[in-house]
């Protein structure tokens, strides 16, 4: 597993070069943005059930057949598995966001996920739709552009408006999930 720092080290080692000024600029930005990054990660961890439940509910609403007998979310045991997977994906996205690098998400969550879903008969189009909704919800919460109650705490004195860049980074991790399932 890598983070923003060790990713720089691994690529420098491949060249056999020491890490100088240019390579350090990105890392200095990562350190400077640490509080925003923590706030953004908190936006996920404090709203996990809400994000996952909304995404699965949205997916079902768009395909009502899913919860009917014979549907992929019938009976409730399978619906519960769906909610659980939503939370697992959010957990790995939150790790990747904190680390500033997608390797933990790729190695521990996405590697083999598509094959597993194929073997279990999970329809990937629906799974992808749920991930898309999670992405939209997460970005909206992080940037404080969601409607309804305030879900972004900003305990490190950040505001959602300052988290635009990091929300975009989080969106890119959801895109990796979508790509892996496609």
């Amino acid at each position: 597993m890598l983070d923003a720092f060790s990713r720089t080290v691994v690529s420098a080692d491949a060249k056999g070069a020491a890490i100088g000024s240019e390579d350090l600029a990105d890392l200095r930005k990562y350190v400077a943005d640490a509080n925003k990054r923590i706030d953004a990660t908190l936006a996920i961890t404090q709203n996990v059930s809400c994000i996952a439940a909304d995404a699965v509910a949205g997916m079902v609403c768009e395909n009502t057949g899913l919860t009917q007998p014979g549907g992929h979310c019938y009976p409730t045991r399978r619906m519960a598995a769906c909610l659980r997977d939503g939370e697992i994906i959010l957990r790995y996205v939150s790790y990747a966001l904190l680390a500033g690098d997608p390797s933990v998400l790729e190695d521990r969550c996405l590697n083999g996920l598509k094959e597993t879903y194929l073997a279990l008969g999970v329809p990937s189009a629906n799974a992808i739709r749920a991930v898309e909704i999670m992405k939209i919800a997460t970005v909206a919460i992080m940037t404080e552009t969601n409607t309804g109650r305030k879900m972004f705490k900003g305990i490190n004195s950040g505001s959602g408006g300052q988290c635009q860049d990091i929300a975009a980074e989080a969106a890119s991790y959801f895109d990796l999930v979508i790509e892996a399932l496609s």
């Binding site: 983070d3 923003a4 100088g20």
Partner: protein, 155 residues
């Protein structure tokens, strides 16, 4: 690769939980030192050749080692300083442990290399070179800490 962040993430993943407030605190704590670390890494990168040559020249001055091996010695010292540069970036000893120390004893023993020469070189860098001229006090402390770590591992 072990670093402050990956250690926290690994522990959270092993327990299957989301990163907690104490995880965030420990990540933040490591960032408080990051400024000095990154400065040390930057300055070390620009002085890598200089430090290496000064140290190797000092070690070979007393004539107790074969001049023929000098180039190889330069290469190795340079290599270790590069790994220290990586450690300063990651904020942990991961790069030294994984790429410099594990297996090192075996290699040194089998090639009949004088470990003492390496130790002399790093002690020279630690004690004789005026590191303060190129980096701040805090950065120097971070750099010397890793030099000590390496010297202990070689000894």
């Amino acid at each position: 690769m072990k670093s402050a962040v990956t250690t926290v993430v690994s522990a959270a993943d092993a327990a299957g939980r989301f990163p907690s407030m104490s995880d965030f605190e420990s990540v933040k704590g490591s960032f408080d030192r990051a400024k000095a670390r990154l400065e040390a890494a930057e300055k070390l990168a620009s002085c890598l050749d200089k430090f290496t040559n000064l140290a190797v020249d000092a070690v070979y001055q007393n004539g107790s080692y074969e001049q023929a091996n000098k180039d190889k010695c330069v290469r190795d010292i340079h290599h270790y300083l590069r790994l220290i540069n990586y450690c300063l970036v990651t904020g942990g000893t991961g790069p030294l442990d994984e790429w410099g120390i594990s297996g090192m004893r075996e290699i040194i023993r089998i090639q009949l290399l004088p470990t003492a020469a390496y130790i002399e070189a790093f002690i020279f860098i630690r004690d004789e070179i005026k590191i303060n001229d190129v980096m701040s006090q805090q950065a120097e402390t971070e750099f010397k800490g890793l030099l000590d770590y390496l010297i202990n591992a070689l000894a």
